[in-house]
């Protein structure tokens, strides 16, 4: 490891709640899977152990299309965490999946100034550490 690599702090890794573990396990295999209700067919996010649409506990995780749109977004110019110093400016977006739920992510492969609300995006996976992959989105 070079001196520079040693001195660059690592980005925070997700520290999953127990109910989120299947989401991160699927992401590790580059699959986007979110909670799904076997009774009413509803999806939601973030994960929880009963369906917020019908309160059924008959729930699990199901793959989704990975397509959606940018509901809204912000652009970071200021460094809040030293590991993101090389990233600024970067985009954090609220992505609305075609299945309905909204989730926080980054928009990549586009200049931050070009990102717009309601633009179409699709999921990509960023292997950030051994056994950890983070879903991000790029213009579709």
């Amino acid at each position: 490891m070079t001196e520079a690599a040693k001195s660059t702090p690592r980005k925070p890794l997700p520290r999953p709640a127990p109910e989120s573990l299947p989401y991160w396990e699927a992401a590790k295999h580059h699959r986007l899977e979110i909670p799904h209700c076997d009774d009413c067919g509803g999806h939601w996010f973030p994960p929880s152990r009963s369906c917020p649409h019908c309160l059924s506990a008959n729930v699990g995780f199901k793959p989704v299309s990975g397509r959606g749109k940018v509901f809204s977004f912000v652009i970071y110019d200021r460094v809040y965490h030293p590991a993101f110093e090389a990233e600024v400016p970067y985009v954090v977006a609220l992505v609305e999946l075609d299945e309905g739920p909204r989730l926080i992510s980054n928009i990549v492969d586009i200049a931050p100034d070009k990102v717009r609300c309601d633009m179409r995006v699709s999921v990509v996976f960023d292997d950030v550490a051994e056994g950890v992959s983070v879903p991000k989105f790029k213009p579709a």
Binding site: S72, V74, V128
Partner: protein, 394 residues
């Protein structure tokens, strides 16, 4: 629509008002600050601690049963006492709970207040300054945020600002108008943290925090506290100060979340305000001054719409008209607000709204002929809201 109880209208009054030192008060804890504000409110009311039998406050989140520690320092045993944890909506919620407790015989005289040491806490070390985080580490997100570099309440509110700009053509110039007007108000307030004028040129040249927000879109980090004393209208008659009537209040909580539905653009202020107006028997046209929870410039603009001072989407034109200035159609955040006076999660908006109803300010700070003040509280993961309508007693 819920029909609020009209028997609560004008049932109670604010009879004591106080604040602590504001701004940078090193070496003083948030608990010390709220006790300082409460002592000042007692002095203002001409009451002794023994006259108080209720304590309602929001605490720093890491203090367990904060109201007990307040009572211990003030030497008060309370018939009705608790800590409220709806963030910036807690201060008006405390007043609402006080009115209900007094009306139902659980207490006669209730101290409500809040204090925070956010400046000291975020300037204790260089690392604390960079992180600019007021919450204890145990409350910070562990997933669905930090791995994406998603930090700060500024970003969360900035999502709403981006969406509003997209839907309605709202501009940075509109947000700037709010920052510039509130700074002008702060210059009239000798206690305000910010002491120098802010021009629109300086606003546009500001450094970025998280776009679309820059430095002047964000409220201050302050050591600050405020407090009010609530009692029945009957009891208020015998006290030192002219009472400020509590004409109505309402709450609403979009507990499904800030990111759900259209909550970041049509906030919980809408239903909270409708309930407060209904209790008071008043509407937006009756309001002479507004003290709006201004954690960020955008939140002022969207709440002005939600409260019906203009239509949804027309907040930009409304603020550009000069409505918010002293002498404007709706003088707003007349102390300078959290953007320029000091930020204590809405309690200073409550203090300012009540003081405007006393008409004891010098002419430069007094909203002329003001009879009705509206105060808003917003917080609790951005979706808890409270509204208070105050009136000048005759």
């Amino acid at each position: 629509m819920i029909e609020p109880s009209r028997e609560l209208r004008d049932a109670c009054a604010i009879v004591g008002i106080g604040n602590s030192r504001l701004g940078k008060v090193p070496g003083v804890s948030s608990l010390d600050l709220v006790v300082e504000a409460m002592r000042n409110a007692l002095d203002d009311a001409g009451l002794k601690a023994g006259d108080v039998d209720g304590i309602l406050c929001r605490g720093p989140d890491e203090i367990y049963s904060h109201h007990q520690e307040v009572g211990e320092r003030l030497g008060i045993n309370a018939g009705f006492s608790t800590t409220v944890t709806n963030g910036g909506a807690s201060q008006i919620l405390s007043v609402a709970l006080a009115v209900m407790a007094i009306r139902h015989g659980l207490a006669t005289t209730v101290l409500c207040g809040y204090g925070r040491d956010a400046w000291s806490r975020t300037h204790a070390t260089e690392e604390a300054r960079v992180r600019n985080e007021t919450r204890p580490p145990s409350q910070l997100p562990r997933e669905f945020g930090p791995e994406y570099g998603y930090y700060s309440a500024a970003a969360t509110h900035a999502f709403g600002a981006t969406r509003h700009m997209h839907l309605y053509g709202t501009t940075k110039e509109h947000f700037g108008r709010i920052a510039v007007d509130f700074r002008e108000h702060a210059l009239r307030n000798p206690q305000a943290q910010m002491k120098t004028p802010l021009t629109m040129e300086e606003y546009h040249a500001q450094r970025s925090i998280v776009r679309p927000f820059g430095l002047y879109d964000c409220s201050l980090r302050s050591d600050a506290a405020g407090a009010v004393i609530v009692t029945s209208r009957e009891r208020a008659k015998d006290l030192k100060q002219p009472p400020v009537l509590i004409k109505g209040f309402g709450t609403h909580n979009n507990t499904r979340g800030w990111f759900a539905d259209d909550n970041m653009v049509v906030t919980a202020a809408k239903k909270s305000g409708e309930r407060a107006y209904a209790m008071a028997g008043l509407g937006p046209k009756d309001v002479d001054t507004a003290q709006i929870y201004d954690c960020f410039t955008y939140m002022v603009l969207t709440q002005l719409e939600d409260y019906g001072f203009c239509k949804k989407g027309e907040g930009g034109d409304f603020v550009a008209s000069g409505a918010l200035r002293m002498g404007g159609a709706l003088p707003t955040n007349t102390s300078g607000g959290q953007l320029s006076e000091a930020h204590a999660e809405g309690v200073l908006q409550l203090v300012e709204g009540a003081r405007q109803m006393r008409h004891t300010y010098p002419a430069s700070r007094q909203v002329k002929d003001a009879e009705i003040a509206l105060v808003s509280g917003h917080g609790g993961n951005q979706v808890c809201h409270s509204t208070l309508i105050l009136g000048r007693a005759r």
